[in-house]
Amino acid sequence: MLQIDLWKRITILLTCVAGLWLAMPNLFYTTVEQHNDAVQAIELGADTPENNALRAQWPEWMPSGLVNLGLDLRGGAHLLAEVRVADVYANRMESYWPEIRDALRPERETIGTIRLQPSPSDEVHVRISQPEGMPRALEIVRGLARPIQTITGVGANDIEVRAEGDLLIVTMSEAEKLASDERTVQQSLEIIRRRIDEVGTREPTIQRQGSDRILIQVPGIGSAAELKDIIGTTAQLTFNPVVSRGSDANASPGLGNKLVPSLDEPGTYYTIEAAAVVTGEELVDAQPAFDQNGRPAVNFRFNTTGARKFGDYTAENIGSPFAIVLDNEVVSAPTIQSHIPGGSGIITGRFTVEESTNLAILLRAGALPAGLDFLEERTIGPELGQDSIDAGKIATIVAFLGVLVFMFLSYGMFGLFANVALIINIGLIFGLLSMIGGTLTLPGIAGIVLTVGMAVDANVLVFERIREELKTSKGPARAIELGYEKALSAILDANITTFITAVILFAMGSGPVRGFAITLGLGILTSVFTAIFVTRLMIVIWFERKRPKKIEV
């Protein structure tokens, strides 16, 4: 007969209450949002009276999880960037050249003179004048190879060395390229995150997509162009030895060198060695400062490896000029006056205070290891977002009322039960969304509206079945029981198949579409739960009280 164990009843009730409890903060969206921001600000040290007042707006013991609003509802910018992972190969191989040169130099008797040749970016070509010495040269250069850690653990080296006649070719290995790509993307991700955090916007999304892409979504920002400025495209800092200084923009720099313009002296060009002594990656700190003449400057400090390299280089090259290169422009080219052992120094140039501050921020956040290509840019204005929210709200309410009235007209008392379940259902969707920190997008609202329409389906299936069972006059209790029992397989099959498509949508989709998949998927879960358990519980409780001889569905 119609029975539900007491513990089951309590579980069902508690689940509903918990879901609605979690959903509740969304009714007071602005208040809770201000509260959450204030809590975060206080944690970060901004313990001001205003923040404390905002925090007090919402009691601590209440849940404070909110449904995130997607960019299409809140307004903001969306960028999909591709990291030019191959950029790094050239640097990496360039940095190998001094090492190869130094290793081969002592063997000049057997291999003759060595000269760098032009090569693709992921290779170093070295010509030796005595090809007979090639086996020895190969042996030496192979000795430079370093094993790299791969996921499979199979020992692979970072370079492959082969000979073609008198040409010694050092190639970056595939395993090293993969490892390098991985590092480059991870690093870029981290740096972009730090730069956006420095600006302090709310809830930015910075995610890796695929092997070499990064998705950046920042709500509330004015435009994608503004976001790009924050990220800064490169800001690469390197310290390179200077070969010469001149004013010819078309001068041939020679192999292994490159020609870069001066940042603040128009018409001046420096020829510098392409391989950097130290790079910005090895910086640990940079602060705006003033030099001894009171002009804006930037203080910097290297990490230990950077400091050692810098120290060694300055010790060996006292009296030589040395270029500080930022984004392929020479910021300044001071002459090394003395050995700089501590790894800290100062960059001077013709900066304004603002420029030195910005440079310090960029340096501190670290340079992006490679350039970015922006493949997708979307800016949604806050007004359009608000319009969408308003329209979505009205549409949802109207859809909701329509379905409620229609269900009541069709099924009477049972329709009312289904309606209560529908309201709980919507509450549960919001509760779950808040709990998992899901994002509500405009298609997501459509998903909710669709759920409103479809959620009653499970109830309709049951009610129709009860109607049929009533015809065979087994008595109301038996009819209700059979109705639930026999409709179950249809309910499950129908919802599992829809759920499968929601999962596929979630896996394949991005952004707004994913938001739709989330609400649709959650809607299916909650509507099955409310139809099978909640409506049934209500019907059973009602039936136990009234004990009707006849029921009409």
Binding site: E376, G392, A517
Partner: protein
Amino acid sequence: MRLRLVKQNTNFDFFKRWKLWLGISGLMMVVAFVSFLLQGLNYGIDFRGGTTIRTESTQPVDIGVYREALAALELGDISITEVFDPQFEADQNVAMIRIEAQEGGEAVEGQLISDIGAALQAADPGLKLPFASVESVGPKVSGELIQTAVIAVVLAIGAVLIYIWLRFEWQFAAGAVLALVHDVILTIGVFSELQIRFDLAIIAALLTIVGYSLNDTVVVFDRVRENLRKYKKRPLNEVLNISINETLSRTFMTSVTTLLALIALFVLGGDVIRGFVFAMIWGVIVGTYSSIFVASAALLYLGVKRDWSKPDANSGNQYANIDPKP
């Protein structure tokens, strides 16, 4: 007094002309497909790259003036359409400008967007800047998005095929999938015929249609399976007919509540998702039709195993009924 969409105990003969229905559906699919081949879809920037700008102005939009203002920038193929929505304010005039993908594999630069803004504002002083929205997709991504979208639809249909095959029998799965393919093709056909913008959101709608149509089909099939055991001696077309008639009331109830909700969204939900909602409304109608006239008709054509005398692995599924002796 209860509202009844379908009177009780209907006894329509859905299969009197089932070959005709299958024929009509087949013909419609051919028409849709030919339309797609001839006319193609009006792809949004998600699928072909380019930029869309949503402008808002306090003055009425004059497309000719906009076009002239942008001509100097040499942006290539431009399309400008005015957007209407009952919820716009009196002085809210909205237009969508679409610009084809520019050179290179990247999205459009911010500089170009501000140039466009300046040019338009010179022509239309009522124009609000910054634009209400600017979306730019590089051709590299759009190519991948098409690929992902096709994979998603195929995967969804495949996954569902497997599920139904496991839960029912292969004839049911074939019928259900035929109905799905029918729905998807007809939806694409409508988008091609009416040249409604086809973007990523429409793919989401397509997949939802797949889910919804299946929902309907499964409910009918579930009843067919049950009735096949109940009426062992009756011919298949009668069993199918009984099943469809028995579930008819539910089919209509669910379709109507869903349509009710969707129509509310279509009218009141704003113009941004109107195409998306339109696809779903169409899908619900087509999906309801196809679960009866395509899926069930296909089942009739394929036939099902009726010999239950032998012990069969499928007979005792987990929802089988055991009733006490009367």
